[in-house]
Amino acid sequence: ASTPQKFYLTPPQVNSILKANEYSFKVPEFDGKNVSSVLGFDSNQLPANAPIEDRRSAATCLQTRGMLLGVFDGHAGCACSQAVSERLFYYIAVSLLPHETLLEIENAVESGRALLPILQWHKHPNDYFSKEASKLYFNSLRTYWQELIDLNTGESTDIDVKEALINAFKRLDNDISLEAQVGDPNSFLNYLVLRVAFSGATACVAHVDGVDLHVANTGDSRAMLGVQEEDGSWSAVTLSNDHNAQNEREVERLKLEHPKNEAKSVVKQDRLLGLLMPFRAFGDVKFKWSIDLQKRVIESGPDQLNDNEYTKFIPPNYYTPPYLTAEPEVTYHRLRPQDKFLVLATDGLWETMHRQDVVRIVGEYLTGMHHQQPIAVGGYKVTLGQMHGLLTERRAKMSSVFEDQNAATHLIRHAVGNNEFGAVDHERLSKMLSLPEELARMYRDDITIIVVQFNSHVVGAYQNQEQ
């Protein structure tokens, strides 16, 4: 009998798979100077679903300061995560804008003048925007800022970032819901808004402005801060709470929001109504609309929607909707010089790796890349040969370990390829990456990672300034 032939991916093939979606952005510096507290970010994603249901976004706010970064984990398709990845940052940016700027933008639209740019996107070529819906999305956004303008009482108050984030999340989810209810004369768009509303997405978004870091989280993606202790070791600080059954406060919240007699059914088998893993999400109108509304929309909707068993299916024990909200939990952290980076990732990463390992791997990767302690001869007796040996060793360490140019890629390599000893095992990596589409989802989830690196010098300078 012949031994079954094994097909392994070669290291270059593995690399090309891992690197296909990698993206890096460095905050442009002029002449060695960068006054932003963000040095830049690395991001990457590895699909398990086909097509991938995760999305990611990153953008710089142009009319206010600060940078927005987010990961979005879709379920029941990618329509919702795609829409949120395109739209959410506009809602946040608009919520952050001062009254005068909103007025200026509205006047420009009104008189057909050129608009002030609001966001500068930092996108991988695969991160697409849907052209067809952009008009519809724009109109909803405009209605939002018109309301913001009308709501303004004239007293110019400082905009509260936390409130802005919460409003933006809720408003977008509301718009998604409304658009699906209203429908669109264009049948393609009509089907699109319905797919967006009937699928769902979690979101974990960070807003960094100087030393002010806000994380808004809806669902079970996670934001993790990498802190370097004085002895050089790494520790992880979690900046978001998972909204799922493992979070007792969330379970408690759900039980409180619904009548006592639903206490057993609202969370069942660690799932919302026994169905949904995340306890907060965008879209998922099946968990938000009344049964009447669901039926009405589905009946008047296009045939494709009617044919879909999932959409027609009403969750069991569905008595007091809504059961689901997109309202985020916002945490604030004031950056310190020891806060070196932030990892935003979908649950695909966190379920394979412990947060402490994540932070250690990224930390070692980044310091290896950027700085080693400088060598000084001091008063010691060192020969040229010894010094040469030492220097070559340092250089080798820098180059060989880090074949990845991207921290997120490096993390995925570990997440997928780590053996029981925490080391990347090529054979395992190769097997995991060559799984057929239909099997991949059983071994792993979509993984999306953004690693934001902070500029300790700038953060330190802010600190000194304020002292």
């Binding site: 002449d31 060598i375 007796k381 060192v382 040969g385 010094m387 040469h388 070559t392």
Partner: protein, 792 residues
């Protein structure tokens, strides 16, 4: 050690003829030479201690192997000056004649060394090309297995530069120069474009002359004045290593080694070694102009030094066991074009500058100080320092960002192979013609002159672009055929060359200052730099007249539009185009000066009408080939302010006999009477194989009847003559005294000439006038191809 340096603080004099700023080797050398020449009312001010800046940290290597002739002369003079300085002043300078060895790891490097060798020999500096075996004899510690050869310069030396500066200061002080240390200049006072004095932290000094020798602080000091003086330079960190002595200390006569391919230099230092280099990734410093009194020891950066250390250990493996003393970090200043900066400011009279030594301050110090002192005393130096003149720079080199980026390119270049026709990569695309994108899309490859992009040639769509850009060679370049077809098109049809950067631009740099200097003050004449207002298109070729007459209803016949004539006319829809019937090449055609807003329109019209005449784009390489073949000398390259019309065959353009007076007329009349001492001559290489032999560039020695008579100033392949053509000045050095004698046409004509390219002499025919186009290539029937019928 120097009495001057230890003097207690005293009140500054209220006035002086000259104030020199900077007590490093440059400032002390200027003061020394001024006092030697009889100017004793000189005050030298140093912000810290004497010789405590870059001068103190200098590696102390004096080398005469330089690429420019003027630099060779300065270094040679410095060598001779330092040699006798100890005797003259009684101050020990540590001068030791060690000689130096320049290693070649590649054939190209050896060619580069051979070129320097040829040039050193003709000015009397001993120098020879040696085999690796000889290298091993000269320096037993060297690993020579990877060498293809080397150059040995036996009279190069090492010396303590700080002590040289102190010796110069002491000698100057003895002749009356007053030296004050710990005195900072805060401001240079200027009235009506003339230096009037300086303001220091210890009071004011009135003066007529100010000399900025402030080293890396010169840029900032230049700005501290009512009329800022732009001095483009920037500092980079520079690292070298010091070791403890070898078990048996190296003899003090151990030669200095320069391994440019390994990017390092190595000299003997107190029985051990001193080794530094010019890395590929320099670290610019003080961009914001952080001022400090003396350069404290900056951070050592071993990781940064690692490639150089590896290179050192490869070259001298036995050094492994040698113990480190320290890694010295001393900033060095670099200039945008790798040449030092000297001369008088074009905007402030009496404001002189001597800075920007690109790591060769010790080698240049003596000579540069001497030339600057001569310049101040006589109004001009005894040697032609045109290439080093501050006036070569304009305002656009004064941006800190530009300087920072450019010096990062310049510093590695010090040890890079210097091949013909390389272009700086930084500070590009600053000034562009309105046609830039258009030409770029058509395959233009660009060169840069003072920030202005100009096309070199146009790569046809089917050529491998990448290979063309990266080819570096001393031999026939890859673009040979491309330029050939452009030249051919200029000769037979019509070409258009965007020369927006030209003419007006040349005026701004050197002539500008001159014109301004001699402008009558009360006249109604207005002098304005209009470079940016016009795009210049050069329409070259026999069909240029056809193209232009189709676009304009103005008569174009030679009686209406004779050669060297200027007319304003409309071209296409655009009005007010100034058309001159000249092409700067001796070929028929026109220069079109077009207001920039019409540039694209006129270009499009010219190209579309020109289609049927076979028009195509051409670049400066084609232009150069055409003009050199026709013996058109170029300002800045062949000619400069020290050339008279009589010396370059331009007498017919000068109205000497028409009773017109002009500046320099008397001098010219006298020169006509007495004869000239040098004559620009055209050389046609006879036995040179274009495909196989090294190409001439410029600076090659010219031999007449076996004796050295001068150097070439430019060269190009003449596609019509099918020969290489060099231009250069022929002198007549007396066989007995070496004195310059009159050069007559007869002298030129009755000689057998050779041009020395990297040690190989090629026979050349000398011409005083362009070759009539007798040789013009006759088109044979079988040369005609179908493709000639296509429009281009």
């Amino acid at each position: 050690s120097a009495s001057a340096a230890a003097a207690p603080p005293v009140a500054l004099p209220a006035q002086a003829q000259v104030v020199v700023c900077g007590g490093g080797i440059m400032g002390t050398s200027v003061a020394y030479h001024l006092s030697k020449m009889g100017w004793k009312d000189v005050v030298l001010l140093e912000q810290g201690r004497l010789a405590a800046g870059s001068t103190r940290f200098c590696a102390g290597i004096l080398s005469t192997a330089r690429h420019l002739a003027i630099e060779q002369k300065m270094a040679d003079y410095s060598n001779k000056l330092y040699h006798q300085l100890e005797q003259e002043t009684g101050i020990q300078t540590g001068y030791t004649r060690t000689g130096s060895i320049f290693l070649a790891q590649t054939q190209d490097r050896l060619i580069s060394l051979k070129r320097i060798n040829s040039r050193l020999n003709v000015v009397g500096i001993p120098c020879e090309i040696v085999s690796p075996k000889k290298v091993a004899e000269l320096h037993p510690l060297l690993n020579v297995h990877d060498l293809v050869g080397a150059m040995h310069v036996p009279e190069d030396a090492v010396v303590s530069s700080a002590d040289v500066a102190l010796a110069l200061a002491s000698a100057a002080s003895q002749s009356g120069v007053q030296i004050y240390d710990r005195t900072s200049i805060l401001h240079v006072m200027v009235k009506r474009g003339q230096v009037t004095g300086v303001e220091t932290d210890k009071g004011q000094i009135q003066c007529q002359y100010f000399v900025n020798c402030a080293g890396q602080w010169a840029y900032e000091l230049g700005l501290c004045s009512e009329e800022p003086v732009s001095i483009p330079l920037h500092a980079c960190e520079h690292f070298y290593l010091l070791t403890r002595p070898w078990e048996t200390p190296l003899p003090s006569s151990t030669p200095t080694v320069v391994d440019a391919d390994g990017r390092i230099y190595i000299r003997n230092w107190q029985g051990g070694i001193l080794s530094g280099g010019f890395e590929k990734n320099p670290k610019p410093i003080f961009t914001e102009g952080k001022n400090q009194l003396e350069i404290q020891n900056l951070q050592e950066d071993w990781d940064h030094f690692e490639p150089l250390l590896s290179s050192l250990l490869r070259r001298m493996p036995q050094l492994e066991t040698l113990e480190i003393v320290k890694l010295v970090n001393c900033p060095e200043t670099f200039t945008p074009d790798m040449r030092c900066i000297m001369g008088e400011s074009p905007s402030v009279r009496g404001y002189f500058v001597l800075v920007g030594m690109n790591s060769a301050g010790l080698s240049f110090g003596g000579g540069a100080g001497k030339y600057l002192a001569e310049w101040m005393v006589h109004g001009y130096p005894s040697e032609n320092v045109w290439e080093l003149d501050l006036k070569r720079f304009g305002a656009l080199q004064s941006s800190r960002t530009f300087l920072r980026h450019r010096v990062m390119e310049v510093m590695p270049l010090l040890y890079d192979l210097k091949v013909p026709r390389w272009d700086f990569q930084t500070g590009r695309q600053l000034r562009t013609s309105p046609l830039y994108d258009r030409l770029d899309a058509q395959g233009a490859r660009w060169m840069e002159k003072h920030g202005f992009e100009r096309p070199k040639y146009f790569v046809p769509p089917d050529k491998d672009l990448l290979a063309l850009e990266q080819s570096k060679t001393f031999y026939k370049p890859d673009w040979f055929e491309i330029v050939e077809s452009e030249v051919k098109c200029c000769k037979e049809a019509v070409c258009v060359i965007d020369m927006s950067s030209f003419t007006k631009f040349e005026i701004t740099v050197h002539c500008w200052a001159w014109l301004k200097k001699y402008m009558p003050e009360d006249s109604n004449l207005i002098l304005e730099d209009v470079t940016w207002k016009y795009t210049a298109l050069n329409l070259i070729g026999p069909r240029a007249v056809d193209v232009l007459s189709e676009l304009s209803y103005a008569p174009m016949t030679p009686d209406h539009f004779p050669s060297l004539f200027c007319k304003e006319m409309s071209v296409g829809y655009a009005n007010g185009i100034r058309v001159m019937s000249m092409t700067h090449t001796g070929e028929p055609g026109f220069m079109l000066y077009i207001p920039i807003e019409y540039a694209l329109h006129v270009y499009n019209e010219v190209m579309s009408v020109g289609q049927k005449y076979g028009i195509r784009n051409a670049g400066y390489y084609a232009l150069r080939s055409l003009r050199i073949e026709k013996f058109f000398a170029f300002w800045g390259q062949d000619l400069n302010t020290l050339t008279t019309p009589l010396e370059c065959g331009g007498e017919s353009r000068v109205k000497l006999d028409k009773g017109v007076d002009f500046i320099g007329r008397d001098a010219l009349l006298q020169q006509r009477q007495n004869g000239v001492y040098k004559r620009l001559t055209m050389f046609i290489l006879d036995d040179h194989d274009t495909d196989l032999d090294l190409w001439p560039w410029w600076g090659e020695p010219i031999y007449r009847n076996g004796r050295y008579v001068g150097k070439t100033t430019s060269s190009a392949y003449g596609y019509t003559l099918e020969r290489h053509v060099c231009l250069g000045f022929v002198h007549n050095f007396s066989e007995d005294t070496g004195e310059e004698q009159v050069v007559t046409a007869d002298f030129i004509n009755r000689g057998e000439y050779e041009i020395d390219i990297a040690g190989h002499r090629f026979q050349a025919k000398a011409k005083l006038y362009p070759v009539p186009s007798l040789l013009t290539h006759k088109r044979r029937k079988e040369d005609v191809e179908l493709s000639d019928l296509h429009g281009k």
